[in-house]
């Protein structure tokens, strides 16, 4: 039986300006599960991922995780800040105390896995948006996470890049036995990479079920602004 990867108990998050982004969230994600957090813009998906990853402290409630969560931000420019792609991928490893040579070796290995090895010496601002998305996944993948969380992974991507990204994510999950959480409103993409879903609306989970079942509930999907 698989064990728990993430557990949120009555989590509420209120921003300093008083906006309630999350309201009494209870959810349990098991190890190896592939979960989509669905919801319209402003539903609280990004905040939820940041709370899960421990980057935001919940105003109320408790977050339990089995291991470190690698979070790829919606805008890859937030994730890539080093002068070269290689240094960006090695950044987390060096922070973990890896020796320089080993960190770079590992970074090259990961860049190979995401198909960006040829661009290792490029500055991030010279990459296309699709390459940046893959690169931001590589930056967290290098740290060998058990859980990865991707915030709007398909935003600004063309259909071909979306297909490539879906293929990459599925391969990575298979190879590394990852627990995957994606926050998105791209239903097609969610269908390609996840099995379970939570629908979030105005900071509240309104349904939790298999994605295929949730998609059949057209009334609810319409209510959540996803149809």
């Amino acid at each position: 039986m698989s064990s728990v990867a993430i557990k949120l108990i009555n989590v509420t998050y209120i921003y300093p300006d008083g906006t309630i982004a999350l309201k009494d969230i209870n959810l349990t994600i098991m190890k190896g599960e592939k979960v989509a957090i669905l919801g319209p813009n402003g539903a609280g998906k990004s905040t939820l991922l940041m709370v899960m990853a421990g980057l935001l402290k919940p105003s109320k409630g408790e977050v339990k995780t089995s291991s470190w969560i690698g979070l790829a931000f919606q805008d890859p420019d937030d994730q890539l800040f080093c002068p070269t792609l290689l240094e960006d991928v090695a950044f987390g490893l060096l922070n973990r105390g890896f020796p320089k040579e080993k960190a770079f070796e590992k970074a090259i290995e990961v860049l190979k896995a995401v198909g960006l090895e040829m661009l290792k010496d490029k500055p991030p601002h010279r990459l296309s948006i699709g390459e940046k998305k893959k690169a931001s996944i590589a930056t967290i993948l290098a740290m060998e996470p058990e859980i990865i969380a991707l915030d709007e992974p398909t935003s600004n991507l063309d259909p071909k890049s979306k297909r490539e990204l879906a293929l990459l994510i599925n391969n990575l999950c298979l190879m590394h036995k990852l627990t995957l959480i994606i926050a998105t409103h791209d239903i097609d993409f969610a269908q390609k990479v996840t099995e379970k879903s939570y629908v979030l609306d105005k900071g509240k989970i309104i349904i939790e079920d298999k994605l295929s079942k949730v998609l059949l509930n057209s009334k609810l999907m319409e209510k959540a602004g996803l149809f």
Binding site: L55, C82, L94, P123
Partner: protein
């Protein structure tokens, strides 16, 4: 006009196409290059005659040719920045120095005289600025930014300073682009001629909006760094190696500087 400036700014300052060409300076260790050019800049500051400065310029332009840099573009860049930095300061210098008068003329009862000493110090100043600016431009054109950062790390620059430069360089592109997009968006909605005062007002809004965006971006980047274990200390990423050819480069550079001073001591201009 602002959009032209922004385009020009990013194209002129941040071009990296020459850094990967197989030229002389591109093959030299960045530490050797930076050390040599710093010495050259210091030498140009202490030089009292014009000949060493002219020889330094000859060296810089020769190195640019050997590094396969388009001389036309290089000359344009160096002259643009030299003019920009030196002309305002240098021109009055022509008239305020006392000495042997070469030319004298009257403008509205003001008697202006150009002296030999004034001309010399103006030329000296312009040449000095030209040497310094050309050195930095050549260094920038032939060295990847990541190598400059690595060099600063190996020279033990303060880590906070390096971190600030790295992040500034990374995001300056993003904000130049953001500013450009904002200007385009404004242009797309401008259907009548806008007065100068209104334009200044709009510019103010844009700048304030850009500040807020920069602040928000900073917060997000910090969270992304924190997620990958950043605890306030940037790790040294330097992986550059110093070779024998780099030592020869510094030595030859020094020899040329000494030779220039030596010649300058004999031939007075």
């Amino acid at each position: 006009m602002i959009e032209d400036f922004l385009k020009f700014f990013s194209e002129t300052l941040f071009t990296e196409k020459y850094t990967s060409i197989n030229g002389l300076l591109q093959k030299i260790d960045p530490r050797a290059k930076i050390t040599s050019f710093i010495i050259l800049i210091l030498a140009s500051i202490i030089s009292n005659s014009l000949l060493p400065l002219l020889l330094f310029l000859f060296l810089i332009f020769s190195l640019a040719i050997m590094s396969k840099i388009s001389i036309k573009k290089f000359l344009f860049r160096t002259l643009l920045f030299t003019t920009l930095f030196s002309i305002i300061i240098a021109i009055p210098n022509l008239f305020i120095n006392s000495g042997v008068v070469i030319i004298s003329f009257n403008i509205y009862n003001f008697n202006l005289r150009i002296t030999e000493q004034g001309l010399f110090s103006t030329l000296q100043f312009i040449l000095r600025v030209w040497v310094c600016v050309s050195s930095l431009i050549l260094l920038n054109l032939t060295t990847k930014f990541s190598s400059i950062i690595n060099t600063m790390e190996s020279f033990k620059f303060p880590k906070v300073f390096i971190m600030i430069i790295t992040v500034t360089y990374r995001f300056i592109f993003l904000f130049v682009n953001e500013a450009y997009q904002m200007i385009l968006a404004k242009e797309a909605r401008s259907i009548r001629k806008i007065s100068k005062i209104e334009n200044i007002k709009i510019l103010g809004f844009m700048i304030s909006s850009l500040f807020i965006r920069a602040y928000e971006k900073g917060e997000k980047v910090y969270l992304a760094m924190k997620n990958r274990g950043y605890s306030g200390e940037m790790k040294n990423l330097s992986m550059i190696n110093f070779h024998f050819k780099d030592a020869i480069f510094i030595f030859s550079f020094l020899m040329f500087i000494v030779f220039s001073f030596f010649i300058g001591g004999f031939i007075k201009i």
